[in-house]
């Protein structure tokens, strides 16, 4: 705009100057007298005055145009701000500080028993549908929640459940420590906290983080988390405990109370140290103390300890996950069933062929009655493929083969799809 005005003003001034010179009888044949010179001076002074007035008017017009241009630019920017704020939800209203999301997965299992002692499994199951809602009260206080429907339909006699898996508030006490209170996922293992279907291989979760670490595992309580140093994180919580019993052979998975009028006679505590200082590598270990794993309902059982360690390694397309978990249950009750020791491990190498396709293999071994000499060990081999048509959508296929000493193992394939947003 400024350039255009300059282009207009300069020719105008030149034209005026030339006109003034031409209009003046400077080049008369004979030299003018003093009177004529005086008249010429007066005329030229008048011309210059008119030219100056014209320049002033143009200058004013330029200033007005410049001002209007700025006003227009500001108006456009303000309009764009308003439109963007409405479109992107970037304002300070409460709903702009809240977020909503979901994930879910559908499974198809086609498994046949290894022999007549077992049973086939031909099943299609909407494994889970989860809605999550979070809200930021201010820079220091945040709310998170997850509500889940498992197996599609819940109610009396139905196979599914409606569960509140998370509902907690994080308070930043200072720059180093964040306190957490509510219902939250325990910081144990690899999948318990991060289990959106597009983030792991295999249609079904690995059996170690199901039978030894009873994922998805949440409890009600409070604690703190943060970092000791860059890449060295910690978690420390006091929370509700398990309530296992002899009828289920003290299996941890059967002991989850899910914070529904949970027996809180005997609380538990969990601590984790996690090291992620080198990109692509995570090393973590956790310890849990259960003051009484039956909530004092079984006087032949008592306290229990859970120890876990895992690593997650990613180098370019190659990945490796490995986890080990061990339960140590006190008391004659668990010991009589061999449940005083329960352990398991898995190792899972993977190869991501490109951004959309990945292959994996996994070897799993676990034993929920490892405390006696009976051969109760179980094994499972998995191989499979993940295909991500979009980074938040995954289609999975795998083949599994189990070897159970009670001869109830299965083999066959699973198909699944999952999403998150």
């Amino acid at each position: 705009m400024q350039q255009q005005l300059k282009k207009q003003i300069i020719p105008t001034l030149l034209t005026l100057a030339v006109s003034a010179i031409i209009a003046t009888p400077t080049w008369a044949a004979k030299a003018p007298g003093a009177e004529e010179m005086w008249q010429l001076i007066l005329e030229q002074r008048e011309t210059i005055k008119r030219q100056n007035e014209k320049i002033d008017r143009l200058s004013d017009q330029y200033k007005q145009l410049d001002s209007k241009t700025k006003e227009t630019a500001e108006a456009i920017a303000a309009t764009a701000d308003a439109v963007e704020q409405a479109a992107t939800g970037s304002g300070e209203d409460w709903y702009n500080r809240s977020s909503f999301g979901s994930y879910g997965e559908l499974h198809y299992n086609n498994l046949e028993a290894n022999n007549s002692a077992g049973s086939d499994k031909d099943e299609i199951d909407l494994h889970r549908f989860v809605l999550f809602l979070s809200h930021e009260f201010n820079e220091d206080m945040r709310f998170f929640s997850e509500l889940e429907v498992e197996h599609s339909i819940a109610g009396e006699g139905k196979s599914g459940e409606v569960e509140l898996e998370q509902m907690y508030i994080d308070f930043d006490i200072n720059g180093q420590i964040t306190a957490r209170s509510g219902i939250f996922m325990l910081p144990i293992g690899i999948l318990n906290e991060t289990h959106e279907p597009n983030t792991f291989y295999g249609v079904e979760r690995n059996p170690i983080e199901s039978n030894i670490i009873p994922s998805t595992w949440w409890e009600g309580g409070a604690g703190i988390h943060g970092e000791f140093a860059p890449g060295l994180g910690y978690d420390l919580y006091i929370h509700s405990g398990l309530e296992t019993n002899s009828g289920s052979k003290y299996a941890p998975r059967k002991g989850r109370q899910k914070v529904g009028k949970a027996n809180a006679k005997d609380l538990a505590g969990t601590a984790r140290i996690k090291w992620t200082a080198i990109p692509g590598l995570e090393l973590a270990g956790s310890v849990q103390y259960q003051s009484n794993i039956t909530q004092s309902t079984d006087n032949t059982a008592g306290k229990a300890m859970l120890y876990t360690a895992h690593t997650v390694f990613q180098n370019g397309p190659f990945g490796l996950r490995a986890l080990y978990a061990l339960w140590d249950l006190n008391g004659g009750g668990p010991e009589s069933l061999g449940a005083n020791e329960q352990n398991g491990f898995y190792i899972e190498p993977s190869w991501k062929i490109n951004h959309q396709l990945g292959l994996f293999a996994r070897y799993n071994q676990w034993d929920n009655q490892a405390g006696n000499s009976s051969d109760s060990e179980k094994e499972q081999m998995d191989i499979g493929i993940n295909y991500w048509p979009h980074e938040d959508i995954v289609i999975k296929a795998d083949y599994i083969k189990q070897r159970f000493n009670d001869k109830k193992g299965q083999k066959g394939f699973n198909l699944g799809f999952g999403y998150r947003f």
Partner: protein, 175 residues
């Protein structure tokens, strides 16, 4: 008692700013330009640019324009992207088509704040954009921070892509 005392000392002496705002945009700009930054400029996002941005982000970008700071062959972008639930504010410096610096200015997610550490962000230095709008090198992720890692990588790609738009590509940026 001694154990609790030691633990308390460790907690209080641990890394500052485990979560929240690590650096203001003003401080990041001052650092990027080693002094007073140039006046901000605006790039309006036409249909073609928004299409490419949507491909990179895997979701549409709903803004109309983006503010940036430019001087010579250097452009600086301060952008937000959600990992799982809350926006992460990321500062990116592009120098002559290559990433010079990626910094996490604010982190608001419940998990994954490890992406702010230099051990992770330094991997981006020197990276360029391929023809398919991916980085020319793999970025090693952080377990449990998959979505945050993905958000940072996307913003780095967006900054490189926008830097390629005229007039930034070849000529020094004029103020």
């Amino acid at each position: 008692m001694k154990v609790w005392f030691t633990l308390g000392l460790l907690l209080l002496s641990s890394t500052p700013h485990a979560k929240g705002i690590y650096q203001t945009p003003e401080a990041f700009l001052q650092e990027s330009f080693q002094g007073e930054p140039p006046a901000p400029r605006v790039i309006w996002l036409n249909r073609a640019i928004k299409k490419s941005m949507a491909d990179i982000l895997s979701h549409p970008y709903r803004g109309l324009r983006l503010r940036y700071w430019g001087k010579d062959q250097c452009t600086v972008w301060i952008l937000n992207e959600i990992g799982k639930e809350r926006p992460i504010t990321i500062g990116v410096v592009v120098q002559a088509g290559k990433l010079k610096q990626v910094s996490i200015l604010a982190f608001r997610e419940s998990r994954g704040s490890e992406v702010r550490h230099p051990a992770f962000t330094d991997q981006f230095q020197g990276a360029r954009l391929n023809n398919d709008h991916h980085l020319d090198r793999p970025i090693d992720g952080i377990s449990g921070a998959t979505l945050s890692v993905r958000a940072v990588e996307k913003i780095a790609r967006i900054a490189l892509f926008l830097h390629q738009q005229p007039p930034f590509t070849d000529a020094p940026t004029q103020q």
